[in-house]
Amino acid sequence: MTWEAVIGIEVHVELSTESKMFCSCEVSFGAEPNTKVCPTCLGLPGALPVPNEKALDSIMAIGLALNCKVAPNSVFHRKNYFYADLPKNYQISQFDVPVCLEGYLDTTVDGETHRVGIERAHMEEDTGKSTHVGEGGRIHAASSTLLDFNRSGVPLVEIVSRPDIHSAAQARSYAQALRGVVAELGVSDARLEEGSIRFDANISIRPEGDDELGTKVEVKNMNSFRSLEQAVDYEIKRQIDLVESGGTVIQETRHWDEEAGVTHSMRTKEGSSDYRYFAEPDLVPMEMGREWVDRIAATLPELPEQRLERYRSAGLEDTLAAVLSGADSPLRGLYEDAVESGADARAAANWVTGEVTAWARRNETETQDLAISGSQLAGLLALIDDGKVSASAAKDVLDGVLLGEGDPAEVAESRDLIQISDSAAIDAVVDEVLQTNPDAVESLRNGEDKVLGFLVGQVMRATRGKADPQLVNATIRERVGSG
């Protein structure tokens, strides 16, 4: 039997707002434990939450970027469960009226556009952090647990996809695209290794062609895109093997073990947990009016997928468009400015992603510190186009520009890199070379074309590479009469 995997991904994005979701404590990663806390995020008796409007700006931006509708009214709910790192023993989250609903994200997998539906994006607060001490950090074997509440109350956006994903590669591609959107918006550090963006996958299998969904397993603890892909792949295979050998998939949460490359059962859900959601009475319903939504929409930057499309339609082939789209923003800016100054899009893209990037790497320079303007790059490309410098000499010109030696024309001049395209000057050098190499001239006359290269090389050497090779070539043939 052929099996189809059905995968939905839940993403938790920690927002990088200055203060927490419901109090004014600083959001900071890596601070001394329990120093960024107050009565509200510690759940002290009597403390109350007050929503952070900046966080609501951020979730709206995420929702709009994911083509979601922003609900005109949205409500916070209490999600009730007891856990040591949850100070109030309820999490302020959202239930039936999330801020964002019904969107999608397009990604590219193997050259094809793959659309993943977004069910919802809702706002909630993060929990504190438990560190299990002893025996490999696993809770059951731990000798003690340390609690750090610095993370408690950090604003968190949960983005729930529809089960539109059917392979590990698609899962990875969706996760990467989503991270790209969040990073582009600047609303989160979006660092997987720091946990500021976390992916959980809900995975089930069903016989190909079936409409009914199989029993889903939630897989957690993937700290990189690679481990997400491996975990999904492993879990799909595990479920298929299990069912084909007569077993049944049970609804449970499984933990990805990076080292062993397997998933382990964490806990079995007996039915669904009863979180006894009810509307948070300490908060009033939020009203996201048209004006607010429009204000956020007006601030949205161009998103990776939109940019890719724009590059393609400017004539960049897919690979080049993708490489440029993924480049640092100063490099993309350099490209945009060069094109604005009249440079050819493909040439500009090639130079930005090629030579300029390589120069930055070689010289260990941050891309935002590169001392070249768009019009300088356009000027350099014009020098090549006009035959004033050769492609290889142009790299030298670029080096000079980046070292602050002046505009491309000045650098070409001062570094003596201008091509000799004056035919009288070239004639003289050619004549001299032909006179000193009579044997070669003789061979060429006799049809031995391979010596042409030798003679051109001699001329180039005599001009220290500055002669226009095309012109040299034509002149020699003309003089020798072998044309």
């Binding site: 009597g46 109350l48 007050v50 007891f82 009810f278």
Partner: protein
Amino acid sequence: MSAQTIAEAQTGLRDGSLTSRMLVEHALKVAADTEAQIHAYLTIDRAGALEAAEKADEDFSRGQDRGPLQGIPVALKDNMVTRGVETTASSQILAGYVPPYDATVVARLRAGGAVIVGKTNLDEFAMGSSTENSAYGPTYNPWDIDRIPGGSSGGSAAAVAAGSAMAALGSDTGGSIRQPASLTGVVGVKPTYGTVSRYGLIAFASSLDQIGPLTRSVEDSALTLEAIWGHDPLDATSFRGEYPALRSRLQEGVEGLKVGVVSELAGEGYEPAVEAQVSGMVDKLAGSGAEIHEVSLPTFDIALSAYYLIAPAEASANLARFDGMRYGLRSAGQTAEEMMSRTRAEGFGPEVIRRILLGTYALSAGYYDAFYGQAQRVRSAIREDFARAYSQVDVLVSPTSPTVAFKAGERTEDPLAMYLSDICTIPCNLSGDPAISVPIGLDGQGLPIGFQVMAPALGEPTMYQVAAAVERLASFEARPNLDLVAS
């Protein structure tokens, strides 16, 4: 001691005939004489109070005037957190808990120069109507120490009635300020929901809880409320609009005002003396020119049932934080779960556990619609009922409590009978509207009877106007016989 009310003391403090120190020492003396019998307080902050009194007197001598509460001895219900002073909400689970911050009302009292005498007893987490559900023992009624003072703000009510504070703050979730005010012969107000910050009030039921004053006079009540209410950015449910002046219309009388008598709040279960005094007061209001209307609010009959689903549901989540993890009592356990569950089993009293279980059940999957959802629909219907009534009348009146103070122990074995104590007060908590209880007389046993005036949201000026008229018409001047108590 000549000054009985804050309004009287204000003048003396400013003309130099009185000092804050005198007022505070008197309050402490009353407490010293009566606490063994009444037990209004869980904590008396003698040193802190004397220090604050000295500061207030210094301010007076330098012409620094922070408002009408400067130098006045005030008591706080022990569910409002006080920086550096133990706050337990009368629960074992918070034994020894010293908060690191002041509730907004506490900060406002301090800023206004008030002197905080101590923290008063309550039913654990404000759950009760007699102040018997306290882990630290019950409070008794200064009018008869065999009886309860009502609850849950029974300690605050008893302190004001006895004179160990000139004003006290209580919290009112289903009548917890008004019912004890009625049973101890003082004035108690539940303001419009959202007008007094709940920041720092240990939550019982967040959508119903409201802090308000207990005082000896209507004017004192108005000036105390003026000192504590107002928008607070730390409470997201805090009212942002304009707050009206409360004392400007106290002398205006009731001529031409339309007063509605709630027909549902009478009859079976109401003591004859209570009914007689209340209807006597209605007659006096009519005699002063008020237009009296009989008004029916049929949803009042199901308000109690809705309340006992909504309040416990919210409480079940609000009290989840008391788990031994970060503060308060911690029982031993092999695992975190075991520790939390033992702490809660040992730290909460039986009424609190009953309500947590009730609330947890009401919110559970499969029961939510039938219980919590249905209760919310009743709540909406009650609001509509009130809106209809207020389209016809300016205020609604009723007894505050169907009975006078009952005997200690009389209802402790019968939760339902206890719950009925709040039948007249609960509707205003569900609607969010303000209401006041004013003492109007004594029954044949010498026990006080309270008269409730209800008004639409932010209708406090009219509510106080009518309450002031009721106070004048009642000319209630009786005081509990403290010599009898102290002996």
